[in-house]
Symmetry: C3
Subunit: 370 residues, 3 copies
Amino acid sequence: MYPLPEGCFAPRNQWYVAAWSKDIGREPIERWILDEPVALYRRESGEPVALHGRCPHRSFPLGKSRVSGDNIACGYHGIQFRPDGSCAGIPSQRAVPKACAVKSYPVIERWDWVWIWPGEAHLADPTLIPDHFQMGATDPAFKTHSGWYALIPGRYMLMHDNLFDLTHLPHLHLVSLGALSETKPSRLDQGPGWISSTFDYLDIDPPAYAQRTYGYSGRVDRVACVKLLFPSVHVATEEYRKASADPAKPGELLGGTRHFHAITPATRHSCHYFFAGASNANHPDPEFYRTSVTNVYPTLVEDISATTYIEEMIQKLGHVPPEILLRADTVCVAGRRMFEDAIRAEQAGKQVPRMTGPVDPTNSLLRQSA
Amino acid sequence: MYPLPEGCFAPRNQWYVAAWSKDIGREPIERWILDEPVALYRRESGEPVALHGRCPHRSFPLGKSRVSGDNIACGYHGIQFRPDGSCAGIPSQRAVPKACAVKSYPVIERWDWVWIWPGEAHLADPTLIPDHFQMGATDPAFKTHSGWYALIPGRYMLMHDNLFDLTHLPHLHLVSLGALSETKPSRLDQGPGWISSTFDYLDIDPPAYAQRTYGYSGRVDRVACVKLLFPSVHVATEEYRKASADPAKPGELLGGTRHFHAITPATRHSCHYFFAGASNANHPDPEFYRTSVTNVYPTLVEDISATTYIEEMIQKLGHVPPEILLRADTVCVAGRRMFEDAIRAEQAGKQVPRMTGPVDPTNSLLRQSA
Amino acid sequence: MYPLPEGCFAPRNQWYVAAWSKDIGREPIERWILDEPVALYRRESGEPVALHGRCPHRSFPLGKSRVSGDNIACGYHGIQFRPDGSCAGIPSQRAVPKACAVKSYPVIERWDWVWIWPGEAHLADPTLIPDHFQMGATDPAFKTHSGWYALIPGRYMLMHDNLFDLTHLPHLHLVSLGALSETKPSRLDQGPGWISSTFDYLDIDPPAYAQRTYGYSGRVDRVACVKLLFPSVHVATEEYRKASADPAKPGELLGGTRHFHAITPATRHSCHYFFAGASNANHPDPEFYRTSVTNVYPTLVEDISATTYIEEMIQKLGHVPPEILLRADTVCVAGRRMFEDAIRAEQAGKQVPRMTGPVDPTNSLLRQSA
């Protein structure tokens, strides 16, 4: 479906962020992921569990049921399912039909996120989850603030479109960020399992938000990059330095940030959005790190508005909207192609091409913190 | 449609409860019944009238129109229809076209209910309405409290599913009823025009709700039955006696209840629910009979939640949900078959098999009060 | 679609009211017109602009974007479009692809209304807009009060049905207008580009609302007419005079009113409604003219209710409702035919028959004020 071709929704044999760690507990929650209901809860040991969220008996939502020990008991007739999806007992009979089971999704908790693998369980390879140290989330050089979540009433690819092309910053975010200089398309880089857009603006006046954050109004060099660790997390890195006359000698570091945008398809017309931020600004006030992330929230709301407006527009139109592509869409076009290729490969029964080990930190900014 | 096969909605040549007597007056109300709009009101004499609720002129809802004498005058252009559906006058012209008429539904008021026959009027046989004395509604041995109504955003068969299988009681109603012992499938009994599930638990500790109601915490014998008087009313009977060591000699009666659950299809995805209760507990306080019924309301809300959740799940899935049947579904399967058979017979133009006189009170509990 | 045949929605090569003048400013608004999104705003000179409201790049709504000089800049990536729909610049690149443009709709501001031509621009002929002097809107003999707007959740033809047949007045408007005497079908008159229904009631007691307005309770002659200036504005004229025994010599004028009802299709299931009123009652209190219009608002709400109810009924039915036509529907049938003929002509690629100059003021009441 738009912006992918008809018949293409989302790649399933991939890791996606299902929830913030803090949002999963002993009470189950229901969350739709890739158009399937999922019940999320924790075992007594604290390990997260993700089960298909529809009881196979009478379609009652397991995400609105009860946890009992490590199992979940359907809230309707009490049928119990183990974390592996097998049936642990039917209160009204002794025999358990073999078919009485639900799919259990591979889940992995890493840093503040619980990751889920919606596809075939035997293909779930934990090493495909992005390296959180490389991302900056667990790198001690960065101080992180996390936990922001939104269920967006728009298809997930619109959020990727948004993150693939930063030329929207001076326009969509005019109110929250003020005037900006992103007027040229970014540079596209791509490797197995990632794609990125990079740009730099050297010897410029710092934009208003950067002046606020770093308390510096002199000329600066600004380098930024948004890198999708396919198919779920965009890591947006940005660095401000005092402008340097000598290209070989970078100016003094004012601060660098990492923003983590995780996008997970919910239904065909909605998606989950998880946001966190980190900074290596070496600021004395710990509150600085929290506010430098919460200050971004108005910007996120503008992104969500755009996605919501466009989803409404498409639905009201009632047909696939024609589209004009710009040069700034180079990353967008290549990024959409990654999704389409992965979906086509799955549809053809082909193994998704194995990426070469953990995500390759080719991007210079990501490399800096390693 | 699920849980019936595709193409099967609801039998039409049957009596259904349309409304509580108290809810119909001289001001018309609109109520959708079996996917048709119905206008309900009373003549000057008080007799209830049910007319097709769409004016054949411009589709204005007659249920949002005005009663004038015994007739209803469309709220838009004032066209008047008699209780038999014929047109009594068109204000803007003298001649009345023959086609200017609406369907009049057979209605019968009995006890606190107004019954409607959505199908072919000439087949409407009042003796097919369940015998209210046998049900306990008009039996002076029982004191009754009635009047509860809900429009449920879920297909009617989900409510029948709910009532066909009481093994949900200890699970769905854990909060409202507390721990219960229904862990075995009920006994299926069936006859022309009815189907029932029965179970007994002898020499048990009374469940919390029964202790509250009867003020007795010693060992008890509990016998219960839910009987569908096809296709509309489930009569749930329950009796508590002090536990008796001698099977031939029943223990002292603590109290018996009759709960009346009437289910009427509204649209394809919603239904009407009418509930009342009666007791022969011989309690000195008349307030006892009211509260022993209103105490059930939280339980009904749980049933409605389950139906609402399942309807949402089915709609969000977008396809017919696969289903695993359990032994406890024996009554459910046989009950759904009754509906399907009646619908298939109507579709084939066959007369629905005439039931042998009034409902056969084969069930022992129903017989006790006769 | 009903009440027109399937495949007929609305004629496009026509003028429709898009907005009240006061509702368009330098901040753009979004309004759906004939199932297309339209962005409406004003140039620096004040001239109104109507552009197709979907950015061809990423489908962001231009009606939720920003005006910059005379252009509109898409709120997402800042692409600028001129009032003629051509692209004035893409911030992220120099070259502007030819296809990067939006449709510009012909608009004309006349009196308090901004008119739009949704069809082929080269056919837009300003002389097809109804003559506002003839209508009474700009005739100094009338004092006008304007500005009422509603977005109605019902298809536009239901509002035309409503205005084509005034025999609904004594019924739908029983509460707001009180008892009335419209019991006979109106007289149909028709010419190129207009259709009207007229009736007179001579030597009657004035209805309650007229007594309130004119402070006169003696016998009156009442003449009224509703004339559709195809396809958008109904001009409802009404005159009250003291009853005259001599047909050749009209009684003293108590007052005459003009009500302007402009109907514009929004989506297939909703429409815009613009209402204004004028009077030549020669009343000393200027407040009289405002209240004599605002007093009509409850009546409009009843009309909107009827349209909303019928739209709900049709949608819930799920099929085209059968319909019985009455003699009072003569104007309605002829009026619907005008719409169908215009749509069919457009579908056949035929030029819509050019009307003979400005609207022919054949109706006697319209002629009186000229």
